[in-house]
Symmetry: C2
Subunit: 311 residues, 2 copies
């Protein structure tokens, strides 16, 4: 009789791990370092060892564990094949099979980290009660995870939900990290907001509190809340691009809810004031009735979602 | 033992109907008029009567029929609830329950016509062998149907895949039929291509065969094939918008294949020469490896897809 499930979220620096009961209550939470040397060959065995150690420590018998869910930063197909996880040093490999073998046949399910985090937010976070959800992570980049009828939309090659690289500006002259020009990520990520702010500061000599300290997504939205005009201009640009991008996504996916997370989302619901106008202007009427919500699980979304893969 | 299945495609003028064996071979095909008067109250009973007549005529016993699939022009939820089908005069109703009742308890499955046609193209048309597919219909408008792992992506309110209304142009001054400005449909539909051509003709006095006859999507692509420079300019604009739109869709959905149908697709594979450059320029690298194919079922895609809903 299954009583426990493990959720694992593999990042480039640390692996976050959680032990859950079958209702999704977290019983324990810990981290181990991600050893990326030698093309990350130790990562899975380190994870297996840590799970087995935890089971011994808590006297958990193998037959009471439903399995292990694991999210990794890279495209993962439905069958568990990872194509390339640059930050881990991995080339193509069957993560599901390898980890199962290391754990004596225990059931393993895997997914892309952003998709798995989206599942976590659906289960226990800002998207609870919804089965058609788009999670949008505004961090250093812009990530996405799409849930259709309660299941991750993996895509044909594991690249489903890569919403940071949808084209939103025809006249961009600086390349995105992906090599294209005018990707959503260039305007709606923390880095993108900083870039928009620096452009605005350089374009004139308008007074702004942003001239007095470090320019970041946080300082921009702090300044917005203080009524700084230049910062408000920058927030409008950010919101125009993101609202337009979410409008396109809504037209295609027709989700119930957008769950906005990542570092930028710490600014809070003020974000929605800037996203909504261009969303309303560009989204198809049949798909407009979407909830905008903030993610609530923070860095734990990955371990929750990973555990949910088993249930 | 089920031997037969019916596929029904309800249009604003005629209802197309097909009788299939369980392998999807069409055994018979016919049409009845769509009676839209009195808010379309006779449509479902006309369909039920026609199915029963066909069964009598061919001595088909009810227990040998797996059921009836039906596609309608409007948003349809997974449970069979149609929200509004303007061209049929329907307000909210449970199409599945009502048709089942009219057919003495026979199983009924329903879907949006564009989504159902996409399923037909996956099953027996240009998308055979693929389970992650986006069908794009370039007709009077631009329609879409998205298939994920072999199943229609309905969306939260049945508006999934409404790709004709994704925003692709910030500087449009003419409104789309939906009320927004800069929808894909304004440039990539037959109507949109005609509009682009008329704009180009009015913008200067460049010589073109298009000045000598009716301007239509067909005459534009005929002129393209004859090397007409102005027509080629128009085709480039069309392709820039559609390629950009499909690039965004690929980034979000990560499909294996785009299946292009509708009247405009009669121009043939020359379309791809104009779509591919902007697709390549704007699509995310992880989602770029997509096949472009032409739809092959024409107006029969709907009855095939409807039948497939049962199997």
């Amino acid at each position: 009789m299954a009583e426990y499930v493990f959720g694992v979220d593999v990042g480039g620096t640390t692996v976050k791990m959680g032990l859950f009961d079958m209702d999704g209550n977290v019983l324990d939470k810990w981290e181990i370092p991600t050893r990326t040397e030698n093309r990350g060959e130790k990562i899975l065995s380190d994870i297996a060892a840590s799970i087995q150690e935890k089971m011994e420590q808590k006297s958990i018998a193998q037959e009471t564990v439903a399995g292990v869910g694991i999210g990794v930063p890279g495209p993962v197909e439905k069958n568990g094949i990872v194509h390339k996880a640059v930050n881990l040093g991995w080339e193509e490999m069957n993560m599901k099979e390898e980890l199962t073998a290391l754990l004596g046949g225990m059931r393993v399910e895997g997914g892309n980290d952003a998709n798995v985090a989206a599942l976590g937010e659906m289960w226990k976070g800002g998207g609870q009660g919804h089965k058609n959800l788009v999670a949008v992570t505004l961090g250093t980049g812009v990530g996405g995870g799409i849930i259709i009828n309660g299941e991750i939309m993996t895509g044909a090659t594991g690249a489903g939900g890569e919403i940071g690289h949808i084209h939103v500006e025809d006249n961009e002259t600086e390349a995105c990290g992906c090599g294209n020009f005018g990707c959503l990520e260039e305007y709606a990520s923390a880095t993108g907001i900083t870039r928009l702010a620096n452009r605005a500061l350089q374009a004139g000599d308008k007074d702004s509190v942003l001239r007095k300290g470090e320019v970041s997504a946080k300082s921009v939205f702090d300044a917005v809340k203080a009524g700084d005009e230049l910062a408000i201009e920058v927030a409008k640009q950010f919101g125009d691009y993101l609202g337009k991008g979410l409008g396109v996504i809504a037209g295609i996916i027709n989700p119930e809810i957008f769950v906005i997370g990542g570092g930028v989302s710490k600014a809070g619901e003020v974000l929605f004031d800037y996203i909504r106008p261009s969303f309303e202007k560009t989204a198809f009427h049949g798909s407009k009735n979407v909830i905008f919500a903030l993610a609530t699980l923070g860095n734990d979304a990955g371990i929750y979602g990973a555990a949910r893969l088993l249930l």
